[in-house]
């Protein structure tokens, strides 16, 4: 096992990793920017090194500074956490060149998964279902009609060079296709100077479902089941749970088996997450793979009993999966996580500042991952996540009741947080029965607006 590890991150995940190290008897080195001098990851690490000014680009994202800190502290591994340098293949390469073990997959794999089209093709080759779509650029209306017939309506036309909704059209039948095709091409041409279009199946109300996997350095891959992450606002996840109500044990086993084969072929190593969209009929389509520990990893830990961060260390130290996870993984009970952000609950503007009062909920089945404290300051330079409130219950009903109880005991004063927003979501009927998809928050805000208007 490693003797000493540098944690190239901040906030709750840095503290989460430090906790795992402490329990494993590994010495820890925190790095920090000048804005984080009084942070808990600095306080609780065995050593701490200031590596730069507040701006992430000059500190946490500054590869030479991070590596230099690792060298003067003489560590044998670096854990990147999530975000920041965690999916930067160059950083992993520099670590390798510096003889420091990077806790994560090899840079070649990270790079492959970072190129979305290549990742899609690798998955397709391994028989992982991907969203049906045209292969390459569509040259003409007739070709578009052919593809649409093969894929099945509704389909979406997208600009190859595109983004931001321009050059995009949802097509529901063959009659409207020619006009939409021409319009999208003109729009793409005007917006990006490139009129190339491709086509994908369009899912009206997708769910976001992801699978947690672990892989050792000897080609063994294991799936630890799924997480349901459909409660999102502008692609930012707010609430995650495991297991998903939509995934049957049989589906879990099938997808797990396919992913195992696929990732063994690719040569995946360490923890990773494979993201899928689920259509209205419960079919899953691969969208992308994240080659790091995820923010929402605790819900999987709660239902499987596997400590994912410790598993990451043990894999990186050369242990076999069969030594790390000795019993078959069972999904026990139900876990839910709420992301508590320092944000205004309606305007979603970041709310930096000093926390004047801070009471964490606790008790049976409640876990809080946080690096904040009373009198602590939320700096304006980094992301707004200040805590993750995680509950575990014997079923979803108990987990929901437990979360409502815990939210009511979570007190943060001095800054705005999303605690109230979570309380309102948990009171929502659709949420409670599990009738949701990635468009849930849009409808939720719409309903709230209507209700307010009725009251007035």
């Amino acid at each position: 096992m490693f003797r000493k590890v540098l944690i190239a991150n901040r906030g709750e995940i840095a503290l989460r990793i430090i906790s795992a190290c402490k329990e494993m008897g590994i010495r820890t080195v925190a790095i920090y920017s000048e804005a984080d001098r009084n942070s808990l990851h600095v306080r609780f690490a065995d050593e701490a090194i200031c590596i730069g000014p507040p701006r992430s680009a000059d500190s946490y994202l500054n590869v030479p500074a991070v590596i230099s800190a690792a060298e003067i502290a003489d560590v044998d591994a670096i854990h990147p956490g999530y975000g920041l340098l965690s999916e930067n293949a160059n950083f992993a390469e520099v670590c390798r060149a510096s003889n420091i073990k990077f806790i994560g997959p090899p840079p070649e794999v990270t790079r492959l998964m970072g190129e979305k089209e290549k990742a899609r093709m690798s998955m397709k080759k391994a028989k992982v279902p991907i969203l049906p779509g045209s292969e390459g650029v569509i040259q003409s209306e007739d070709e578009a009609l052919d593809w649409a017939r093969q894929i099945g309506y509704p389909v979406i036309l997208k600009a190859s060079a595109g983004g931001g909704g321009r050059g995009m059209r949802v097509v529901r039948n063959a009659d409207e296709l020619p006009n939409f095709f021409r319009a999208a091409r003109t729009e793409a041409q005007n917006a990006f100077g490139n009129g190339d279009l491709y086509m994908e199946k369009f899912i009206e109300r997708p769910r976001h479902i992801e699978f947690q996997i672990l892989a050792d350095e000897y080609g063994n891959v294991m799936s630890l089941g799924e997480r349901e992450c459909s409660i999102q606002r502008r692609h930012q996840k707010l609430i995650e749970e495991a297991p998903s109500l939509q995934v049957t044990p049989r589906m879990r086993e099938e997808i797990g088996g396919t992913l195992k084969k696929c990732l063994e072929t690719i040569g995946y190593v360490n923890a990773g997450t494979v993201e899928f969209l689920m259509d209205e009929d419960g079919k899953l389509y691969f969208i992308e793979m994240n080659t790091r520990i995820q923010v929402e990893h605790p819900v999987t830990e709660m239902v499987t009993g596997v400590d994912l961060v410790k598993a990451q260390f043990r894999i990186a130290a050369g242990e076999k999966l069969s030594e790390i996870i000795t019993k078959p993984v069972e999904i026990r009970g139900h876990a839910i996580e709420c992301r508590i952000n320092a944000e205004h609950p309606e305007k979603f503007t970041p709310s930096a500042g000093k926390i004047t009062a801070y009471n964490l909920p606790g008790g049976n089945g409640v876990r809080v991952d946080t690096a904040q404290y009373a009198e602590g300051v939320v700096p304006p330079y980094y992301d707004s996540l200040i805590a993750k409130l995680i509950v575990h219950g014997e079923d979803r009903t108990e987990a929901i009741a437990r979360m409502e109880r815990a939210l009511s005991m979570f007190v943060v004063e001095g800054i705005h947080t999303t605690i109230q927003l979570h309380q309102r979501i948990f009171a929502d009927e659709d949420f409670r029965v599990g009738a949701f998809d990635t468009k849930f928050m849009e409808r939720f805000f719409e309903r709230e607006k209507l209700r307010r208007e009725v009251v007035q």
Binding site: E34, D58, P64, E71, S98
Partner: protein, 175 residues
């Protein structure tokens, strides 16, 4: 704030601009001033990654040649910009001393090679822009320049010692 104070503040700002100071903080009874000037970014982040990894592969162990990489012209600005109040106390004695701080995390060396003469010694008179030491980061020898002319009063770290970003290296009595 009265008229006199306002004038002093204006003078202070002019002075700081001339010295190309990145950030400045002052606290007295009933008065707190925080100034930061644009364009005094860190240079350490601009190091070419490819070049770095290539160099890393090539150089096994410290080759110890001064001035291999990094644009030192920027470094001197950064050292001045990295001021944080608490560390000033580290000088202990004399007020008005100027502190040269490490602009990067790494290993401090007082000389260009083992056994060579130190760049500067206590009692020396230094010019602004003069190289005062080396901070090695990722096998790269970064020359650190003085950001103020004056007399070297104190060296705060030993050669070979690891230094953090913003750590005081020398105290200078300005001329």
């Amino acid at each position: 704030m009265n008229v006199g104070q306002l004038q002093s503040l204006k003078d202070l700002i002019e002075f700081l601009k001339q010295q190309e100071v990145g950030e400045f903080e002052l606290e007295q009874e009933g008065l707190k001033v925080h100034l930061s000037f644009a364009g005094q970014g860190s240079s350490a982040s601009h190091v070419d990654l490819e070049q770095l990894s290539r160099l890393l592969r090539q150089s096994q162990g410290p080759t110890f040649t001064a001035g291999t990489v990094a644009p030192p012209a920027h470094l001197s600005h950064v050292s001045a910009g990295a001021s944080t109040a608490p560390e000033l106390a580290a000088t202990g004695d004399e007020p008005g001393l100027h502190i040269i701080k490490s602009p990067i995390v790494g290993t401090f060396y007082e000389a260009s090679a083992p056994g060579a003469e130190p760049y500067i010694k206590v009692g020396d008179n230094v010019e602004s822009g003069q190289v005062v030491c080396i901070v090695e980061a990722m096998k790269l020898m970064n020359e650190i320049e003085c950001d103020m002319a004056g007399e070297v009063v104190k060296r705060m770290v030993a050669s070979g010692q690891p230094v953090e970003y913003g750590q005081p290296l020398f105290a200078i009595r300005p001329r």
